[in-house]
């Protein structure tokens, strides 16, 4: 499996954000943090949207022929 460097960096950033989210959520729930973490849901929603966008943008080839993938289905849905 070959990944481009840009894809690797984006995926790595998403992984690190995930790890940070785990830290934030566990500290917030255990230590009853009231202030400072109010942006948590919006940060997570932004990351989730970015993650979904990247996951949709996948091309798969079956026996040398490109099959209909989720990105193409998404474009068809948008009318492209």
């Amino acid at each position: 499996m070959k990944l481009s460097k840009l894809y690797f960096l984006i995926e790595l950033s998403l992984l690190l954000i995930n790890v940070l989210m785990i830290w934030f959520v566990s500290v917030q729930s255990a230590f009853n943090v009231e202030e400072g973490f109010s942006a948590l849901p919006s940060v997570w929603q932004t990351v989730a949207v970015l993650d979904i966008f990247i996951t949709l943008n996948t091309a798969r080839v079956l026996e040398g022929r490109e099959i209909k993938n989720r990105w193409r289905i998404f474009k068809m849905y948008l009318g492209g």
Binding site: L3, F8, I22, S26, V27, S29, L40, W44, Q45
Partner: protein, 159 residues
Amino acid sequence: MPIDLLCVISIILQNGTDSQQVSEVAYLVLVAVLLVKAMWKYRNLQPFIDHNFAKEHVTLVTSFGFLIAMGHVFAVAFYLVGSRSDNHDNWLRFSRLDNAEWSTRYIFSLYWAFTTMVTVGYGDITPQNKYEVCVVIVVEILGTSIFGYMINIIGMTLS
């Protein structure tokens, strides 16, 4: 995508209710979902990492990450047991941390976890009731095993 959906649902649950019990369950679900998602992400990255980095370095970095993560888990567990104890004999009160701000409580919990894991054990923070003693026993068994494994990994990498 279902994982993302679950995350959003758990955040809504967390914000949309005043019940502490439901909120705690939502937090637990959220942490579990995020953990699965992080592992999934790492699995996607593994071929690229294996191709571009030395195996020993990857093992060393992931082992350090695991050690820090386990320290955090032990710190949270010890704090939760101390703060939820009904009687007044708990380590937070003993260390005069019961009215401190969250960052101070977190740093002291983390400090206790790492000093116990690396078998230094200064003894300035000690368990004060039977529940805390139970947690300390589990942390000592698991923590020293993890630390021993880490020392072995470092030795193998250097050799």
